[in-house]
């Protein structure tokens, strides 16, 4: 069975960690994946870097730039990911912008994902209509989930449509913001999370953007199946010993 489906069936309070491939060093991609699994991450979102990441704040912009400057490419990433399933058994998604995928070739990209054991993708600037028309068949042929984002401004009808097209989970943005903004759960955010919870969607939901500590993580888990941490993790591994940084960071979320 599909790793993502199985995870959501079996587990609550799911912790998903985003990191940028090739950061802090080009060769770190697999080591980070293994260390994260060991210290309790439930899902990995591996970012393939892009030169113009418009949905990202300064931290992920900087990690993307450093990774690219050091020579990371989508091709190299797939080379590295051949080692992924030696030890990593949790679900893994690739996250990035559409242009590198287009240049790589959509069909070839999906094939490569399936070959190395990637379970799904998050491509924030790939619109739903384009996905439906040009990508969906290919994704489904290779058993890839495609995760869509929704924000407090996304209309109900559109959320229903997204729910129908998704076969992994739905990525709930705590607010319309670039990555790295802090989560402030005020009344309006709470109302939004409750509204989504009340919609009884077929897909599980994960809350992302601005989760940085145990408190915000727990809060998010009270409204969704789990939460996604990106910027805070990327910051935490920027310098020093990788294994130590990862295990210290992850301890904060497990007691």
């Amino acid at each position: 069975m599909n790793r993502i489906k199985q995870l959501f069936r079996e587990k609550k309070n799911i912790l998903s960690i985003y990191y940028t491939a090739g950061y802090p060093n080009t060769g770190d991609t697999i080591q980070i994946a293994e260390a994260l699994q060991k210290s309790g991450a439930d899902i990995l979102e591996i970012g393939f870097p892009y030169s113009d990441p418009v949905a990202d704040g300064p931290v992920i912009q900087a990690s993307s730039k450093q990774s690219l400057d050091q020579g990371m490419t989508l091709k190299l990433l797939f080379e590295q990911l051949k080692e992924l399933r030696k030890n990593v058994t949790i679900p893994v998604l690739l996250m990035g912008y559409v242009n590198p995928v287009l240049q790589f070739g959509v069909e070839k990209f999906c094939e490569a994902c399936a070959e190395v054991g990637v379970d799904g993708c998050i491509v924030p600037d790939l619109p739903m209509v384009e996905y439906e028309e040009f990508y969906k068949d290919c994704f489904e042929k290779h058993n890839l989930a495609n995760v869509f984002l929704i924000t407090p401004q996304t209309a109900e009808e559109r959320i229903r449509k997204i729910d129908g097209l998704t076969n992994g989970f739905i990525y709930l943005l705590s607010s319309s913001a670039t990555t790295g903004k802090n989560l402030e759960v005020g009344n309006t955010t709470e109302a939004y999370f409750s509204r989504i919870k009340g919609m009884d969607l077929k897909n599980p939901t994960m809350i992302g953007f601005g989760i940085s500590d145990k408190q915000t993580f727990d809060k998010a888990c009270s409204y969704a199946n789990g939460a996604i941490i990106g910027t805070a993790f990327v910051k935490a591994i920027s310098e020093g010993n990788l294994e130590e940084n990862i295990s210290n960071f992850m301890k904060k979320f497990k007691d």
């Binding site: 030169s51 091709k75 559409v98 240049q103 209509v129 984002l149 401004q153 943005l173 913001a177």
Partner: protein
């Protein structure tokens, strides 16, 4: 109509709206409303009134005698440089500010390269009393200092973009990030025919006043509303699209778009997008852009800040691919020399962007007697520093 946008937001293979979900409600709101608002008689009345009384339109179509003698043809200059604020950019900002008001927006953001679009945006914000934030690359802030001062004087906040090559592309990224973070009260006035649908179409409609007037003026001056050639420079492509708009379906009018070759198309310091680029997605639309085989956007170079952009609008990509338009390029040096030539021959100091279009006249093979229209998209005041340095003035 064969070169216009279809109901899905595409021009042939190009266009669409490749945007993150955070931008969807804003872009969708625009898409659903722009044609309706623009077609409204009250909107049209106010738009044209402002173009006339505030911008100073129609801009003259000037038969440049000494240029014409030099090439043995009739060279007409469409004088967008005489518009208020000194370039064609204001045609679009007037249109978009009225539209933003109709949509109830309170805050305006924009990107700028040469600073012309930033000034044109700050100007209409002052005029309509709206908050204004302009994103501008650090490199451009330096090379277009007078325009930075103008924007500040007009009440705009100028925010430096310090990522990437610190030019127009990076300013556009920052503006998009701002819009993501301010999803409700803000309108983004994109300055060229780029961005997600409906921007390329909307900006083209506002700039189409250029060719609408040109046709009438040509008819009055020559008895024929169709010239043999129209030429314009292309950064994102808005002055060119305005100049081409009403000629696109007249297949015997040759459309020539001039890109910036920078230090030469093969020098590694160029912005000649159609020559160096291939198909991909940049800033929300599928078009042609300069990129690596891995799909990373390549940093462009041009002496002219307004042309220093690694992409072109999707409609241009379509005109290029179908062969309807001829896309050529001019180097930094050729453009500066052409700027000086224009000044000496006609007493007009052109923007370095516009000088790219003029420079191509030197390379054209004429039979003699043809009618040629060049879009003089802006004046050169902002570029004096660059001219001074290059010519040791």
């Amino acid at each position: 109509m064969k070169y216009k946008v279809n109901e899905k937001g595409y021009y042939g293979d190009f266009g669409g709206a490749y945007i993150p979900e955070m931008l969807y409600p804003n872009v969708e709101e625009l898409r659903q409303n722009y044609l309706k608002i623009i077609a409204d008689p009250d909107f049209q009345k106010e738009f044209h009134q402002l173009l006339k009384d505030y911008v100073g339109r129609p801009s003259p179509l000037y038969l440049a005698k000494r240029y014409s003698e030099r090439y043995g043809v009739n060279i007409f200059l469409k004088r967008e440089d005489l518009n208020h604020t000194g370039a064609h950019k204001i045609n679009n900002t007037i249109g978009q500010i009225l539209l933003a008001e109709k949509l109830g927006k309170k805050r305006i953001i924009a990107e700028t390269g040469a600073g012309q679009h930033g000034v044109a945006t700050a100007t209409v914000c002052a005029l309509r009393n709206l908050e204004c934030v302009i994103y501008m690359g650090e490199v451009d802030i330096e090379r277009q200092a007078p325009n930075v001062a103008r924007m500040k004087m007009l009440g705009a906040k100028v925010v430096p973009a310090s990522s990437g090559s610190k030019t127009l592309k990076d300013a556009t990224n920052e503006a998009m990030r701002d819009w993501i973070n301010n999803p409700v009260d803000t309108h983004y006035i994109i300055g060229s025919v780029v961005g997600p649908h409906p921007y390329p179409d909307m900006v083209a409609i506002f700039q189409s006043i250029i060719s609408e007037e040109t046709k009438k003026q040509l008819l009055a001056q020559t008895g024929n509303d169709q010239p043999d050639y129209v030429l314009a420079c292309v950064g994102g492509g808005s002055n060119a699209m305005g100049m081409f708009y009403h000629f696109m379906d007249d297949e015997n009018v040759k459309l020539i778009a001039v890109e910036a070759a920078g230090k030469g198309v093969s020098s590694g310091f160029s912005a000649a997008t159609t020559y160096l680029g291939n198909e991909g997605v940049l800033h929300g639309s599928r078009s042609i852009l300069m990129q690596t085989p891995d799909g990373q956007v390549v940093e462009p170079h041009s002496v002219s800040a307004g042309l220093d952009y690694p992409g072109i609008g999707p409609q241009h990509a379509h005109l290029f691919k179908t062969g309807r338009g001829q896309y050529v390029s001019i180097t930094d040096e050729e453009s500066l020399e052409a700027g000086l030539l224009c000044t000496k021959l006609e007493g007009i100091i052109p923007a370095i962007e516009s000088a790219h279009a003029l420079a191509y006249l030197e390379k054209m093979q004429f039979k003699g007697g043809e009618n040629v229209v060049v879009c003089l998209s802006g004046r050169g005041d902002k570029d004096l520093d660059t001219y001074i340095k290059y010519f040791n003035l």
